[in-house]
Every structure is written in structure tokens, then in C-alpha cells.
Symmetry: none
Subunit: 234 residues, 4 copies
């Protein structure tokens, strides 16, 4: 489990939890278990720090301290703060992809399948606000880091494909309207969950209501499923 998977083949080790598969980053040489552990602690610490303060707002000292590691180790493993950022980002994507792969909708009725996809996105997002934070930051950077990522598998999501399938099935069965653009719907599905989580602080400041309770999230879930299914009605 402590084994190291080279980044280019990570997708072939499907069941690995993201923290157990550090994906070895830039330097893919065999490393000791101790080094791997240090590396992992740095990544975990960096994820927290980056998600909380962004790339520019994060401090290398803080990350190292949080990781219980020497700052020098951070540089030995990742080369620079920016490389560390990219690695953390890739891992966050990879972690989401990992869970996405576990979402199986093939055998379900179209409406139920669609509901499951919608709910999954909201729930994952709510469970992983750090993913949302990283994504927002990276968009601030105009995706500059992501663009130079070579970790294709991390970026490849099975969801659009699944969505397309469900849409086609539903349309063929006459339970979904025709002419729906899968990409637009995919973006909308992401939006309906992501925005809610990403903006929970300003929204709750303005609305004066707590948005991250289980009750509030449940309500949101009901609403967005209703929106999507309502929209898809023929």
C-alpha cells in the first residue's frame, strides 16, 4: 500500500486511495518508505494550506511545519512551491476521478441515473471544499499550472461520458427531452453544486443563513435534482 505508483500509470491502480498513491511527482525514482512518508505528509499539509490560503497566500515554512518536515525536504521532493502546487492540484483531480469511477449508473433508469450523477457532484463537492478552493485558485491563475500538467489520467473524468450515455438512453426511452447538449448539461450539473459550496461564505453572509449544515445540503440536493430532472422532462 505504501508502494509508489509512477504518475503516468496511476490510473492502472484503481483502488488506491489518493493519499496512499502519492504518484511520485516529478522525480519518479524508487524511494525509501521513510521518504515516501515525508513526501506524503508534505502533500497533505500543502493541500490544507493551499486550500485555505491559495498559492500566493501560502507559506512554505507553514507547510513544512504542518507536515512536521524540514523545509529542505519540500524542495528535495518538489523543487519549488509552484511545482508543489501543481502536484497538489493533480492529486485533488485524481482523487475526484477516483471516486467518480465508483459511480455506476449503467443499470439504472435514466432519471435515477441522472439524479445520482447530480447528487454525486454536490456531495463530493460538499465533502471536499478544498477541491473547490484549489479549482477557484487555479482559475485565478488562468489554469496556468494545470495547462502544463502531464498527468492526463488525473484530468480525465468518466462522468461526461456517463452523462452522455444516460442522456441518450433517456431520450431513446422518451423520458428525456431531445436536443440536450451533454457538455452544457455537464457544466450545469457541476455549477449547481460547485457554486453553492464555493460561495457558501459570501452567500451566507448576505443571506444570513447557514449553508453547510447537513439539512441545508440535503435541501440543495433535492432542489438541483428537481431542476435537472424538471428540465429534462420531454
Amino acid at each position: 500500500m505504501a508502494g509508489v505508483t509512477a504518475r503516468r500509470v496511476a490510473s492502472r491502480a484503481p483502488a488506491l486511495s489518493p493519499s496512499a498513491a502519492p504518484s511520485a511527482g516529478r522525480a519518479a525514482k524508487p524511494v525509501s518508505a521513510r521518504a515516501a512518508a515525508t513526501r506524503q505528509r508534505i502533500l497533505d499539509a500543502a493541500l490544507v494550506e493551499f486550500a485555505e490560503k491559495g498559492l500566493a497566500g501560502s507559506r512554505v515554512d507553514e507547510i513544512a511545519a504542518r507536515a512536521g518536515a524540514n523545509k529542505r525536504m519540500l524542495y528535495a521532493h518538489f523543487g519549488s512551491k509552484e511545482e508543489l502546487w501543481l502536484t497538489v492540484l493533480e492529486r485533488a483531480y485524481a482523487a475526484k476521478r477516483e471516486e467518480e469511477r465508483a459511480v455506476v449508473v449503467e443499470g439504472l433508469a435514466p432519471a435515477e441515473a441522472m439524479a445520482r450523477l447530480v447528487a454525486f457532484n454536490l456531495r463530493y463537492t460538499a465533502r471536499h471544499p478544498e477541491f473547490v478552493a484549489l479549482l477557484n485558485q487555479e482559475n485565478l491563475h488562468r489554469a496556468a499550472y494545470l495547462r502544463r500538467s502531464e498527468d492526463v489520467p488525473a484530468l480525465y473524468s468518466p462522468i461526461p461520458e456517463a452523462l452522455r450515455g444516460v442522456l441518450a438512453r433517456g431520450e431513446a426511452a422518451g423520458v428525456f427531452r431531445a436536443g440536450v447538449d451533454p457538455m452544457q448539461l455537464y457544466i450545469s450539473m457541476l455549477a449547481l453544486g460547485h457554486f453553492y459550496v464555493a460561495n457558501r461564505h459570501t452567500l451566507s453572509t448576505i443571506f444570513g443563513a447557514a449553508l453547510d449544515t447537513e439539512a441545508a445540503i440535503g435541501e440543495r440536493e433535492r432542489h438541483i435534482i428537481e431542476v435537472v430532472l424538471g428540465y429534462l422532462r420531454p
Copy 2:
């Protein structure tokens, strides 16, 4: 239905336009025209810099240089980088509120009114990606600055109220479904536009498609209006 966007008519209300009321309730003393101009240039420069790099990533020197002002003036006018951030944020909200007030939907048929609201949000967001960037950053800060704002009018949006009215009218007329939660719908409306703009860089990296062309935005507009109206069908 597409292309229903509010135009910028705000400048006809000079005493309320954000650039005509630069002190925004903070510095209430009479200022010379020259000072006001400097202040304004700093605010404009800060908006650009902050939207591009966030609070932590922005450099005070850079802002001053961009404003063609002395760095000292920034501190004379705003006290600190953080106060400047808050002022910029408030002004960004105020500017949006200003345009929102120009969106009149009372006389329109419910569906058209709803479409106009949805379209306005997307279009405003697309025209003002800096607003999106600021908002995302401020959410990273957990709304710490916004929470301490005293500029209530800047935060108060007329849109939720308008939305509520349209919903009620549509429901009463039997053209909208019943039982729709206005706040949820408001958030969804914001989400469908905001997420698209906010994440255009990562999305286009992953999809390999340009998202900020007029054509793409038009398509998005059609889609989200369709989603909302489709959902609202009784």
C-alpha cells in the same frame, strides 16, 4: 429569448454611481477633485490587480504604478492593502447592484421575465469576470472582509425580490410549477452563469474548447434559460 441583457444605464444616476461616490460611506470628508481622481485611479488599478492575482498575490507597488500614483497615496486613501481590498470588493458589489436596479421585469410575462433575469446574470458575469474573481477570492477568505463591511446598500440586491415576484406571478398564472424555493432558484441562477465564467480556464483546458467567445456565451445563455424555464414548467 436569447440576448436579453440589461444595458449599462446606470451612469444616468450620477449621485449613486460608484465612481461618482468614491467615498462609499467610508471617508466622508470633502475632497479635492484631484484627490478624488487619484483615489479613483488607485481603485481602478486595484480592481484589475486584485482580480488578476488575488489579495495575497497582488503587490501594492504594482497597484500604485498601474494607477500612476505614489504608493504613499494608496495608504493615505485606504490605510492598508486590506482596506483597499474591502473597498474594491464593496465597489464591485455596488456596481453590480447598480446594473441590477436597471433590470425591470415587472411588466413582462413570467417566462420572459425569468429569462431576462437568468440572462442578465450570465451576461453581467461574462462582462465582469473581475467580479467573479473577487468573489472567489473573498470566499477563500471565508468572507472575512465582506463580513466587516458596513456598506450595506452595496450588498443588497433587488434581484431575489424580483425573482420572488416573477415566480409568484408565474405560479398564479399557472405557467410555472408550484413549490419552488426562491432562494434555491436564485442561487441556481447565479450558479449557472457564475460557474461557467469562473471556471472557464480549467474547463476549456479540460474540454479543449474556447468558452469566452460571443458564440459560446450565446450558446450558454440559451442553455441555461432552457434549463430554468424547462424546470419551471408546471
Copy 3:
């Protein structure tokens, strides 16, 4: 009383209170009463600020604000912070000289005369801790400013002369010991009072006793008179 006395002849207007005789500083041209008042307010404010924080620790803005004057006026009147310092210093000396001239010991018995001189120094010092503070600061500067003062009268004290006279009279009368160096005694007299006041903060921190109550000063007075007179016994 609001009249302006040029610095070089100030000693000829003996009864003028130091704050009423601003001595016109570097630029000795005739000025309006309003200008003189502004100048005076700046000097008063500067004395407080300088005595509290020293030359380096004082802020020109703070002095101007405290004086209720525009900062520009400070420069119009004094040219620079350092010139202002020198002027304040000269005035502090002049003020002390002024009071010293009122100490008359000629008709007194030697012991009483000596006691009066000793007491005067302690009392003046205790009443004017700001003089002590300025002096200490100026010594930190190795008297760099004082050395370039041209205000000779301000520096000339009648006390050493008086002391010399008293000493001679006492020795001649056989009530004082012979061979006392007047300058050394003068310095000692200054020292016994000045040190007590100058170091009251560290001393009271270390001793844990209040040193600036009237009772404490009275006790100090008794002690140093006893020291000097005890020493002078033949």
C-alpha cells in the same frame, strides 16, 4: 508681549517668559502676529514630542497635528526637523537660564546660599523633565546640534559664577573647606538632581518605589543638600 525678539539679543529682554519670546529662529524677519502664534504652537508641540520620543522617534506629522498647524508651516518656519530640534533645545536652555537669573544668593549666608543653589537645580529639573530628556538626547547626538548653535546667551548660565562666589565667601568665612574645585562641584550639584529625574523610570522599576511624588522629591532635596553641605564642612 507677542513681540518678536531676534535670537542674538534675546538676553536683553530678561523678563520675557520663554514661550512669549520665540526668539524668531533662523529667519529673523518681522512676522505677523498670526504667524508668530503658529510658530509658537509648533515649538510647544515639538517640545512635548521631542521630549517624549527623542529626535529620531518624533514624527513631523505628529508635531504639526499636535500644534494644530499644517505641516508645511513647520517647514516654512524652521526649515527642517533638525533645525526645529535645535531651536527647541536652545529654547529649553534659555528657559532654564531665565529662571536661573531669578535665583539670587548674594545676600545669603554661604551655607544657605549653597543650599538654595542645590535645591533650585533639583526643583527646576523635577519641574522640567522635558529639559532632562532633551539634554539626554542631545548627548546621544554627542551635542552635534548644540555645538552649532549660535545662541550663546541661551547657553550661558549664571549659576557657576554664583557658585564660585558662594564658595569663595564660605571659604573666606571659614565655614567651607578649602580647595574645592567650583566646576566639579557645579557638575556634582547638577548630577545629584539631574540623574534622579533622568533615571526615575529605570530606578523606580528596579527599586519598586515611586520617585516622582512630592514627598520623594522633598526627601531627595534634603539628602542632596546634606551631601553638599556635609562635604563642604571644613
Copy 4:
């Protein structure tokens, strides 16, 4: 009687000498020899700079440069300019206390013992004008830093106790007058030396005489011993 000065024997007690115990109760972690050396160089440089220009007038860059150290190290070791000031101040006190402990007067005749105490203070002060400068500055700060010091031993002087003993012995032997307040005498003893050194620049400007030659100091020493012993005559 003149020339009774304590010599520097403190270095024979290595574990207590201030330069051998650099952490002075503040940073108690074990440090490398290199770090200790850097720390020491910074302290030495700071002492010179602070004594010359005071806290407000000193420049952190200058201190670092003088120490041949990186400015960052100053902060790593001391946290801030103000903390550095306090440390320097404590060390100056500690250094004086150290030498004071070497002044032994128990076996001496009361008059000689007293002369030795008086002379020690003048000589130490003359040899360490930087201590005088620091003290004067700290009094300008109203002992704000000293008051927050936790380095009690640095502040505790054995001299008052010794003085009290000598006084009692002299009085008992009938060679000193009765009723002398030890604290007042202690302050006077400090004053007679300290003031002379502290104000040597303004005094010599006004008197036009050099005060810091060995001859002048010797003369001062003779005088103040004479004053104290003369005063103490029964």
C-alpha cells in the same frame, strides 16, 4: 584613595559571563556554535548601534551589516528590533552586575570600602559609555522595555547591599555620620559618576574642556570620593 577601580575579572566565571550565556533565559534551545556566534555578532553590533543612535535612530540594516550577518538572522534570533533592544539592554545590565560582583569591600576599612564603591561606579561608567547611553534611552521610553524584562538576575545589583553594609560598619565604628539613607546615597553615588559621563558632550561644549581624558576622569574620581567621604564624616 584615588584610582580604586575594580578590574575585569568576570571572564573567569565562564558559565555566567553574558557572552558565554547568550540565550539569557530567552531562547533555551541548544544552538550550534555557528548560530551562537552569529547571535553574538548581532548583539555586539546592536549594542554599538543602539548606544550611538538610540532605538528609534538605529537601523536594522546597519546592525546586520555591522554584524556581518544577514538581516534575516536578526529576526530569526530576536524576533524584532524591540526584542533585540531589550536583549541588549538586559545584557548591558548583566555585564555591569557581573563586574559588580567582583567588587569586594567586606575586608576593607569603611572609608576605603566606600571610596572603592564610588570609584568603581565612575570607572565602570567611564569605560562603558554605551551602558549610560542605553540607560538614558530606556528612560526616554519610560522603562517600557525594562519593565517587561523577565531577566531578574540581570537587574539585581549587589552594590546597594554592599553599600548598606559599609555604611553600617562605618557608623558603628564612629567614622561615618549616622542617619544616612542608603538608597539616597546609592543614587547619589550613581549620579556623581553617571551624569558626568552621560553629559560629557554638552558639558564639554559649554565648558570648552575635554572631560573624557584619563586626567579629567582621575580628577573627577578624586572629587566625588572627596564629596562622599566628606559628607559621611560624623
